[in-house]
């Protein structure tokens, strides 16, 4: 997994609430058996006509945001289907950080497994960051994970919270499975105990 440390990039505003994972990557792209190549289909229905022609009004089609690395979005981002294709598509497009007031649980988890940092901010801070993002390529955001801080173009700062374990994994690009396998002895012990107490399983 790619490490996440300090990111400085263009932030794209997407001021819609309840952006679900069907909107992030519709079903027709779930037939892949790979993790890569989904970036061009990110936000397909908002981004293209049915024939695949770009809709110029959609934020990621505007020249200033074509290389956005940060997404600033409305409440409850990533709700709906558990598809990890959603973070895969974001990552493949180049988005490494999503900022919102709230995220759906599964999407939030999935981000961390892919080196994407989801940041929860207050509604007031979101509004401010949305305004920053509206200024396009002139307004980059700096996402400083070690300092747990977003720095805006005018020197404004927004602090954010993150679970220490997840922060550690992101900073070091650690693979969860490897970490868990280090606890194999605890899993073995649990299974032995359980075989006795839950014989019916």
């Amino acid at each position: 997994m790619q490490k996440f440390d300090v990111l400085n990039g263009v932030a794209a505003p997407l001021n819609i609430v309840n952006i679900d994972t069907d909107m992030i990557i519709p079903k027709q792209f779930l037939k892949t058996i790979r993790r890569t190549g989904l970036g061009k289909s990110l936000f397909f229905e908002m981004r293209y006509t049915q024939e695949g022609k770009e809709l110029p009004d959609f934020v990621l089609n505007k020249p200033a945001y074509r290389k956005a690395q940060v997404l600033v979005a409305g409440d409850n981002f990533g709700c709906g289907s558990s598809r990890e294709h959603a973070p895969w598509a974001l990552l493949d497009f180049g988005i490494r950080c999503v900022i919102s007031t709230s995220f759906a649980d599964i999407f939030y988890n999935n981000c961390f497994k892919n080196g994407i940092l989801p940041i929860v901010v207050s509604p007031d801070d979101l509004k401010k960051l949305m305004d920053d993002a509206e200024r396009g390529s002139n307004a980059t955001l700096t996402i400083d994970l070690p300092a747990q801080e977003i720095r805006g173009p005018d020197g404004g700062k927004v602090k954010f919270d993150i679970d220490p374990f997840r922060k550690h994994c992101l900073l070091n690009g650690l693979d969860d499975i490897g970490l868990t396998l280090e606890k194999a002895a605890s899993i073995d012990a649990f299974e032995t105990k359980n075989a006795a107490s839950h014989s019916w399983l």
Partner: protein, 473 residues
């Protein structure tokens, strides 16, 4: 004299959590043991690929069950799957299951069906277990008093390799549905009303336990419908304490314990309920006795109203982002504030899904459409059973004859138009009464318009060609 220390009262969720805790770090990051793992073709290929790349094995192949559901056509499958990408995904699951020694129900196996219908049907789903699947509607299995939730593909790989999941404990939330449901209201109306009340993010970070007379009165099928859509309320999982109905449903199912093991399990299951004084972080009460049939009008499952109500006016919403989103939804749906759903013509009626594709749902539909015909303005009306066993049961009761005589299409089991990964899809602009769980933009087909309802409401709508208040018919 030694003091007798009273154990802290615990919720059902607390109990299952405690009994599956393998390891807990100081910051609360926990390793949770997973008893049961369901796998389908869409969210698993990359997980198996990951195992291969890292040379890892599946720790307990016998604790995983694989089935194809999302991609399979619902027409005759004896000649294989025409669509190439779908076929590759299905073949990939077959190969992965074989290579890693996992039991697999292929598309011509009569036990095949939607993963969340199959698990309970096989007795793979059991009270007090932890169940995961790379699918958000895994919450369905909570109806049996299991802790069941959806996971992403990286987590699928993690479970395959370690039989555990890294988790932090969620908050406890209780939703009590009081009173006896009125005659025409159903489990679907209960859960739609709950989502309308708490919103699609209302349960975020929580596990919901459903309680109350209206929940107790539900059949297992109805309880599955409620737990199924818990995810639409944003909660990690939904659960209902097991009782005699749960046991009666599970007894003698193929994968359920038998004989002395069943008795041992029963003793354990009897302790699976929240203690009287257990602490819930949030409590929501819904008046079940006065619950009307519900219909969704927008593009989020929280956009719901009573069938007799008028579509709300987004301009009354203070928050700008929300207001714009609701206008966007109305625009997408081709509707206006103040309109009534009973005045709007439908194009398609679709009955099925892991929410409402079980035998009880089909029986309820049959009661309404028996001896009648679907309306002429519909392009078609389709019924897709949740599994091969549901189909077989329905046919043994002659329900398919009722459906066919009424003009419905009667299909092979699968997810079908719940998400339209197979050829069953809405055309742009088509308006559909659907018993599924998501009315998202494009969910049932590009620019398709979905209204979520109960099977009874869908059946009545099929006859009228528009929504009707089933209490009046």
């Amino acid at each position: 004299m030694s003091e007798i220390k009273m154990a802290k009262p615990r919720t059902l969720y607390d109990k299952i959590w405690d009994d599956h805790l393998v390891h807990e770090a100081e910051d609360g990051t926990s390793l949770l043991y997973i008893d049961r793992h369901l796998v389908h073709e869409v969210t698993s290929p990359q997980a198996f690929e990951g195992l291969r790349l890292s040379g890892r094995k599946v720790r307990h192949p016998e604790k995983t069950l694989a089935v194809v559901d999302h991609n399979v056509p619902t027409t005759d499958r004896s000649k294989g799957i025409a669509e190439e990408e779908s076929r590759i995904q299905v073949e990939t699951l077959a190969k992965n299951a074989k290579d890693f020694g996992i039991e697999y129900f292929h598309e011509r196996d009569k036990r095949q069906g939607i993963v969340h219908v199959v698990g309970p049907e096989q007795g793979f789903t059991l009270p007090g277990t932890t169940i995961v699947c790379g699918d958000s509607h895994t919450s369905t299995h909570g109806a049996f008093g299991a802790l069941a939730h959806g996971i992403g593909t990286s987590e699928v790989e993690h479970v395959l390799a370690t039989q555990t999941l890294i988790q932090k404990k969620a908050r406890n939330m209780k939703v009590e549905v009081t009173g006896k449901l009125p005659k025409h209201s159903t489990a679907k109306d209960i859960i739609l009303a709950i989502i309308g009340e708490i919103g699609t993010a209302g349960g975020t970070g929580s596990v919901i336990e459903f309680t109350g007379e209206a929940i107790r009165d539900l059949s297992m099928e109805g309880r599955m419908t409620v737990c199924n859509m818990t995810i639409e309320g944003g909660a990690r999982a939904g659960m209902i304490a097991p009782d005699e109905k749960t046991y009666a449903y599970l007894k003698d199912r193929p994968r359920a314990p038998k004989g002395a093991l069943w008795d041992a399990a029963r003793r354990y299951w009897d302790g699976l309920h929240s203690d009287d004084d257990a602490h819930f972080d949030r409590l929501v009460t819904i008046d079940g006795a006065n619950l009307p049939p519900i219909v969704s009008w927008g593009t989020s499952p929280e956009d719901v109203m009573a069938i007799t109500a008028a579509i709300p006016d987004p301009d009354k919403i203070a928050d700008e982002g929300k207001r714009q989103s609701k206008w966007r939804a109305l625009d997408y749906m081709g509707l206006k504030p103040g309109q009534r759903m009973t005045d709007v013509e439908l194009d398609v009626v679709w009955i099925g899904s892991c929410t409402n594709g079980r035998i009880e749902d089909l029986r309820n539909v049959a009661k309404i459409v028996d001896g009648k015909r679907i309306a002429g303005n519909l392009a078609y009306a389709m019924i897709v059973p949740g599994s091969g066993l549901v189909k077989e049961q329905a046919e043994s009761e002659g329900l398919h004859n009722i459906f066919l005589a009424a003009g419905f299409e009667w299909r092979e089991p699968g997810c079908s138009m719940c998400l339209g990964m197979n050829p069953d899809q809405l055309k742009p602009g088509q308006r559909c009464a659907s018993t599924s769980n998501r009315n998202f933009e494009g969910r049932q087909g590009y620019k398709g318009r979905t209204h979520l309802v109960s099977p009874q409401m869908a059946a009545a709508a099929a006859l009228a060609g528009r929504f009707v208040d089933i209490r009046q018919s």
